[in-house]
Amino acid sequence: MWNGVGVDEDDKLDRSGVTTVLRRSGEFLRPYRRQMAIASVMVVAYTATVLAGPLLVRHGIDEGIKVGDTDVLNQTVVAYIVVAMVAYVVYRVQVVLISRIGESFLRDLRVRVFDHLQKLSMPFYDREKAGVVVSRMTSDIDSLSELVQMGLLMFVSNSLLLFGSIVVLTAVSWKLLVLCLLAVPPVVLASIKFQRESNVAYLDVRDGIGNTLSHLQEGISGVRVVQAFAREDVESTRFERGNRRLYDAHMRSVKISAWYLPVIEIAGTGTTAAAVGIGGWWVHQGDLSIGTVTFFVLTLSNLFEPIQQLSQLFNTVQSAGAGLKKLYELLDTDVDVPERAGAVDLPTGGAIVVSGLGFSYGDGTKVLSGVDLTIAPAERIALVGPTGAGKSTLAKLIARFYDPTEGSVTIGGVDLRDATLASLRRHLAVVPQEGFLFNGTLVDNVRLARPGATDAEVEAAMASIGILDRFDSLPDGLRTEVRERGSRFSAGEKQLVSLARAALADPEILVLDEATSSLDPGTEAVVEDAMEKLSSGRTTIVIAHRLTTAARADRVAVVAAGSLAEVGTHDELIERGGHYAALFSAWAGGQPV
């Protein structure tokens, strides 16, 4: 039943997948083996108590009531009370233990996966869609927690109950059991059929829900566009169509369980009827006691209910298994930019030397080749060039977001691949194009760049680039909470926070990716001023989108078609009349005077 028909590729688990998942899960669970042993004992004990109830009733009827022996009856009742109390305690301990093991497992898994995600470098994030990465940590682990919180206990105890019932029934009367087991093949067949069909239906429903919700989401967040084009009715009709499909998928899945559940119920009652009828016949023959028949009727529910419950659990177990497989695969993803054994710290005050640098993607697409460039300490250099020419790639290689495929980047004579990652991050900070704010206060956001910094140090850093007053004047000052990704701050203000982070990190080398989109004029001036202050006295590599920025740099490097076309000061390059001069006149010509 593991290889259910209709499960999509993502959710498929083959035999080797199952083995891997089990082996890796075993490794994760090793610290909890003692607790697991205790839990297993508890589960067995609890199953025994559940099975003991009907046995005691049988004993009471056959040995006590029928023969009129009230002592036996009383003893049985006392025994039943004891069993019930033991059952209570055992069940309780079992729930707590299994939850603790399961939740600890999930907690460890979350921490381990996230740690690994943090270790993975930029190429990974460029390759993978953000939504997919996030879903590993959310929906994949959530599908496990459903199993841990309810399913696992149900799975284990139902399996045991099923097994135990068969054992007990065999012991009491194997003949009657064989009779009852005649109902098992149809139940199992029905369960397999149900399992297959409901799997297909489940995927249908899941698709339907996904589509309906994303349509709903778009309808809400795009409502202004819809109204602007007066398309409310058309969109509503479209939504109704998708919603109708979801309804139909729901109904298909209900139809499946609507035939399955009666089959199980009928099998259950049919077996009861058979047990009473044929059992009665055997009582008549003198082969069985009435107590045994009563006992059978009571225990039969222990036989059929677990089958039904287990079949409903298969989807959960299967999707949990698939989720685990994906998580383990993620944990096995190699870090693209690893730290070499015996790596050394970067020296301070060294020049950046780029020699013979080349980079191509895994599929062989060449982005950059043969770049030679030396950047002196405290020099400010602007990288310019058309979109896609490779200027960002060059900056990323210098920051070691990627490793080059040819040539090398050295800082103070040390190849970046031989340097410790920690010393590289101390020496060099990258300020991305878009200012991104995390949940928390403004202070926390700046402090991200140097976790140990005091509030005073954060304020000093902001003051050093001239932006402290702007944020301090907010009603809550630097304690202002950033909500919803900083929606209450303008794009420019977000960039300022980003620059403040760099000021706090206080690196020797700064890589700045200038924003392409324009800001409102007032803020733009403040941002430029802050950038200016920040870069003074530091080696600065700025990916310039505005040629005004380039003009202010000490030197300009023009990247065109994957190689370095020109390097020189603004004036030199204008004079030379090459790439840069052409770019500049095209751009400046468009700026009305």
């Binding site: 009827i61 324009s518 004029p521 430029e528 700026q591």
Partner: protein, 548 residues
């Protein structure tokens, strides 16, 4: 019936009676099984229908609700109305037939038990109401823990989302450890919340298992003694046991249903709140057609504020503006001066507080909104594209538009070239599961969308802000062509875009403070220079340098 079979068949050793009763049990089993299946089917059909209908109505209603409503209410809130809230309503509706069936089972079984033996019935049922009480308490105690788990999981998810969305910041500053610590805290919180829920389950689940046993034990004890004293038959005793077992599930369910019902009614209330909000911008009963015209726009003494009462934020005061048909005007001013608002009043996204907005001589409140909006092309400051093909996005205003029309619009917006370069061209799906385009590319598609239907009025709200400056001149040429002979309102920061307009209107604090050409204002108006200065200061200098 089991009792009858045992008493009349096995006890009395009457084989034909035994056979008869066994068959009756089997038949009743089949009938009840089929009926259970039908009940389940019908219950789900009703419940899903309710969910579907409500979701359709919710969507249609949200589509019609005015801008001001959407300004106030977060998208996430509306999402959960249409998602979790409706699911809770559905989950309750589906329980109704089952609840009725369960109630009838409880009443019926109780009646049978009392008729069999009132004393034993009292003994057997004495503990059962407790199940209901315990189940209900279980529901109410578990609910907060479950909510806590959801809350903590959501917080954990937001740390993960942030770490991925902000990965450039994290890597750029080497902030991995900070996030790692944050996640560890959240993972611990999720663990604690889950264990809290587990402890609640550990207290109540065993009790729910134990309580029915109390009844069974009592029946065995008292009933057993009564059988021995021959007050009742053995069959009655066995039947009693079976009936008591029958009651366990319905009673347990009742507790759950009560807890569900409370949640569902709260959810239904939240959905009703949205549905009962009336759209403010609606057509008058005597709304007319928009007369013919070239798209002349006139604002007369317009007062406007966002929100109302004490919370109102005044934006426009005694605002007058006249844009002649076929001409273009650029609205310029510092952030918050009201220039975007002007663009939003023309398609009647909001109603003015006083004064009038006229398009081709008609007050926008007097014409059919659909028609008014269809004759206006609009590009928003924040580009929103649908998860659909590029072609479908451009043809949003008119899905039946020919591919030639779509390509013509794309060409005018300077988007045709990059669209063609994609593997699937105009059929490329964009959005979450498709291609991700750059801000500038998205904006160009939005411009193409706005001009597809050849609107008489075009409103460009900062339409070129995300376009890469090195590409800006390309789109500028395209815009110039689009604007030629069309009434256009441009809201812009960049001087280059502003210069495309025939005329510039400078706004400050909700009023027009100067009008003229770009060059004229640049020369004569200090405030205008001030507003533009910051961006174009250095650019101007450089340009001068080059030309000099």
């Amino acid at each position: 019936m089991v009792k009858q079979a045992i008493d009349r068949g096995i006890e009395a050793d009457d084989m034909s009676a035994l056979l008869r009763w066994s068959l009756v049990i089997a038949v009743v089993g089949v009938v009840s099984g089929v009926l259970t299946g039908m009940r389940r089917y019908l219950a789900f059909r009703e419940a899903r229908m309710v969910e579907k209908t409500l979701r359709d109505r919710l969507f249609a209603h949200v589509q019609r609700l005015h801008f001001a409503y959407h300004d106030e209410v977060q998208a996430g809130q509306l999402m959960s109305r249409g998602n979790t809230d409706l699911q809770q309503v559905q989950a309750f509706v589906v329980m109704i037939p089952l609840t009725i069936a369960n109630g009838m089972t409880v009443v019926g079984v109780t009646a049978i038990l009392i008729s069999l033996d009132p004393f034993l019935a009292l003994v057997a049922l004495g503990a059962l109401p407790l199940i209901n009480v315990v189940a209900k308490r279980f529901g109410t105690k578990l609910f907060p823990s479950v909510m806590a788990i959801q809350r903590e999981s959501a917080e954990l998810a937001s740390v993960v989302e942030e770490s991925v969305a902000g990965v450039r910041v994290v890597k750029g500053f080497g902030a991995q450890d900070v996030l790692r610590r944050r996640l560890r805290t959240e993972a611990d919180d999720v663990y604690d919340a889950s264990m809290e829920a587990a402890r609640t389950r550990a207290t109540f689940l065993p009790a729910l298992e134990l309580l029915p046993n109390v009844g069974l034990i009592a029946v065995l004890f008292f009933g057993g003694h009564r059988v021995v004293t021959e007050a009742i038959t053995l069959g009655s005793l066995v039947a009693f046991n079976v009936y008591v077992v029958l009651l366990i599930w319905p009673l347990r369910m009742l507790g759950m249903i009560i807890a569900n019902g409370q949640r569902a009614s709260a959810a239904a209330g939240r959905v009703a709140e949205v549905l009962s909000t009336d759209p403010v911008i609606v057509d008058r009963s005597d709304a007319r057609r928009l007369g013919p015209g070239g798209g002349e726009i006139r604002f007369e003494h317009v007062e406007f504020a966002y929100g109302d009462g004490d919370a109102a934020i005044p934006v426009l005061h005694d605002f007058d503006l006249h844009v002649e048909a076929g001409t273009s005007v650029a609205l310029v001013g510092a952030t918050g001066c009201g220039k975007s608002t002007v663009g939003r009043l023309i398609p009647r996204f909001y109603d003015v507080v006083s004064g009038r907005v006229l398009v081709d001589g008609c007050d926008v409140r007097d014409v059919r909104t659909t028609e008014l909006r269809r004759s206006i092309g609009l590009v928003f400051e924040e580009t929103f594209l649908f998860s659909d093909s590029i072609g479908a996005n451009i043809a949003f205003a008119d899905p039946d538009a020919s591919i030639e029309a779509v390509q013509r619009a794309a060409r005018l917006a300077g988007a045709h070239e990059f669209i063609e370069a994609l593997d699937e061209g105009y059929d490329s799906i964009i959005g979450e599961r498709g291609y991700s385009l750059s801000g500038g590319q998205r904006q160009r598609i939005a411009i193409a969308r706005a001009i597809l239907a050849d609107p008489r009025v075009l409103i460009l709200d900062d339409a070129t802000s995300s376009v890469d400056p090195t590409k800006e001149h390309e789109i500028r040429d395209a815009l110039a062509e689009v604007m030629a002979g069309r009434t256009t309102v441009v809201i812009a920061h960049r001087a280059a875009t502003i210069a495309l307009a025939d005329r510039v209107v400078l706004l400050d604090e909700g009023r027009v403070i100067a009008e003229g050409t770009h060059e004229g204002l640049l020369e004569t108006n200090a405030r205008y220079r001030e507003v533009l200065a910051a961006v174009d200061d250095s650019a101007g200098d450089q340009a001068e340098e080059v030309t000099a």
